[in-house]
């Protein structure tokens, strides 16, 4: 191997190992390689989100009308909670840098403290995301789906606020019950039935002149189209299904792909945060046990730190493309 080197100097062994042309250790380089490839995976997700969104640019759900909740408080607070989550993650990134910095200076106790704070930040974030998912899946107003798979939402004409199905739907006694799998010829059950049938919602709608339909189409002003009462009366005839909350097949917020991308992108990111927390916990205990003290350097903290910052970096993009744009 060495015979191919033409630079002359015998002590400079280019391919024999031992030198670091990029000034970084093997482990750190490999972490960077992983981060670059993972960044490409996330970019693939976000770019395909962009694809679907540009394809349905006139009917895509508006994020501030979907994510309006803050835990323990009722009311309409678009974005505030996601902004808080972003801040928590950036903050835990900061404590991670401080842990790396303390590691460089071989200050064991400081590194322990900062690692602990980082783990807490990560746990708060994952918990918030779980809550966000639960709220999203549960839904709040309910909607109808038309034959073409489009979503019809309801708005109160006098206040302009959203109307929940429970606000106006009539309860009609009927014998439609959940089809359990031991009742049928086919061994299929079904998921839970929506709270109301299409018929109940339609009857309630016809009886209450204060309810208008809002369609998916976005107007020039960037708002969803609100139909007049006459248009609404025609539109409701297209209704086929009652949709409450969200799943991978349909959701009450609008385009079906919206919920799919929400679950995939924030889920993939949340899984990264979760793995990050697990890895941080391992490193945390290693520091306590003095593994790095004996090894003579805290490079492991730095490598894990790189991953943790990367998770934060991805969230910055998810936040922009999912919640802001």
């Amino acid at each position: 191997m060495d015979s191919t080197i033409t630079t002359g100097a015998e002590e400079e062994n280019v391919w024999g190992g031992g030198n670091r042309p990029l000034g970084a250790s093997y482990g750190k380089l490999m972490m960077w390689f992983f981060i670059v490839s993972d960044a490409l995976t996330f970019s693939g997700f976000l770019a395909s989100y962009g694809f679907s969104r540009f394809k349905f640019i006139e009917t895509w759900p508006i994020a501030d009308q979907v994510f309006t909740h803050v835990p323990f408080i009722h009311g309409n607070f678009p974005m505030y909670y996601v902004a808080f989550m972003t801040f928590v993650l950036i903050m835990s990134s900061v404590t991670m840098v401080l842990a790396v910095d303390a590691g460089h200076k071989m200050m064991k106790n400081k590194a322990i403290l900062y690692m602990f704070l980082t783990i807490i930040g990560g746990a708060i974030f994952v918990g918030s995301q779980a809550w966000e998912w639960a709220t999203f899946i549960k839904g709040d107003y309910g909607a109808l789906e038309t034959k073409g798979g489009r979503i019809l939402q309801f708005v109160k004409a006098d206040t302009g606020e959203r109307a929940a199905l429970a606000d106006f739907a009539k309860v009609i006694p009927g014998d439609r019950s959940v089809h359990d799998y031991n009742d049928g010829v086919w061994f299929y059950g079904e998921g839970s039935l929506p709270s109301y049938t299409v018929n109940e919602v339609t009857e309630g709608f016809l009886a209450d002149p204060n309810i208008l339909i809002r369609t998916e189409t976005i107007t020039e002003e960037g708002e969803k189209t609100l139909l007049t009462r006459e248009e609404s009366l025609t539109k409701i005839k297209d209704a086929q299904l009652v949709v409450e909350g969200a799943n991978l097949i349909r959701n009450e917020y609008g385009s079906r792909l919206f919920a799919d991308f929400f679950f995939f992108i924030t889920g993939f990111h949340g899984f990264h945060v979760f793995s990050g927390v697990v890895i941080n916990v391992i490193i945390f205990f290693n520091i306590i046990l003095g593994t790095y003290e004996r090894r003579g350097h805290y490079e492991m903290v730095e490598k894990v730190g790189l991953y943790w910052h990367f998770v934060d970096l991805v969230w910055v993009f998810v936040f922009t493309f999912f919640y802001l744009v």
Partner: protein, 127 residues
């Protein structure tokens, strides 16, 4: 592992005394940028929404640029790319930038084409 830290940000306009101080400085900057983003997202100023640039609202361009600014400071200061050799930095940064720009260009162009087919191509889907 005794890296030299470069302690100036904003092209040398702001200098810090220690690495710890720089991190807090960057945190304050990132928080300000996030606050601006959220404020714009909630108020949606009319001038930024009404006008478009290359088919996208100015407001969305503002969001994307602010995001890239945030990404820069996270990568440069938190992931301390600022302190790495320029060859490593370039290998890490330009590879994704090249590939992702290409992917975004292809996908968004194609999406816009499909949008037009759905709109003008005798296909009824919004019913």
């Amino acid at each position: 592992m005794s890296h030299e830290h470069k302690l100036a940000i904003f092209r040398g306009t702001v200098k810090f005394k220690s690495n710890t101080q720089k991190i807090w400085g960057v945190l304050i900057f990132l928080t300000i940028v996030t606050t601006i983003e959220v404020a714009l997202g909630i108020t949606k100023p009319h001038i930024l929404v009404a006008n478009t640039f290359i088919g996208m609202k100015i407001l969305n361009w503002v969001f994307i640029i602010l995001t890239l600014v945030k990404a820069y400071y996270i990568a440069w200061d938190f992931m301390h790319l600022r302190d790495e050799k320029s060859s490593l930095r370039r290998a890490i940064v330009w590879t994704p930038i090249f590939l992702v720009s290409y992917l975004i260009f292809i996908l968004l162009f194609e999406a816009d084409y499909i949008y037009n087919v759905f709109k003008d191509g005798f296909i009824e889907w919004n019913f």
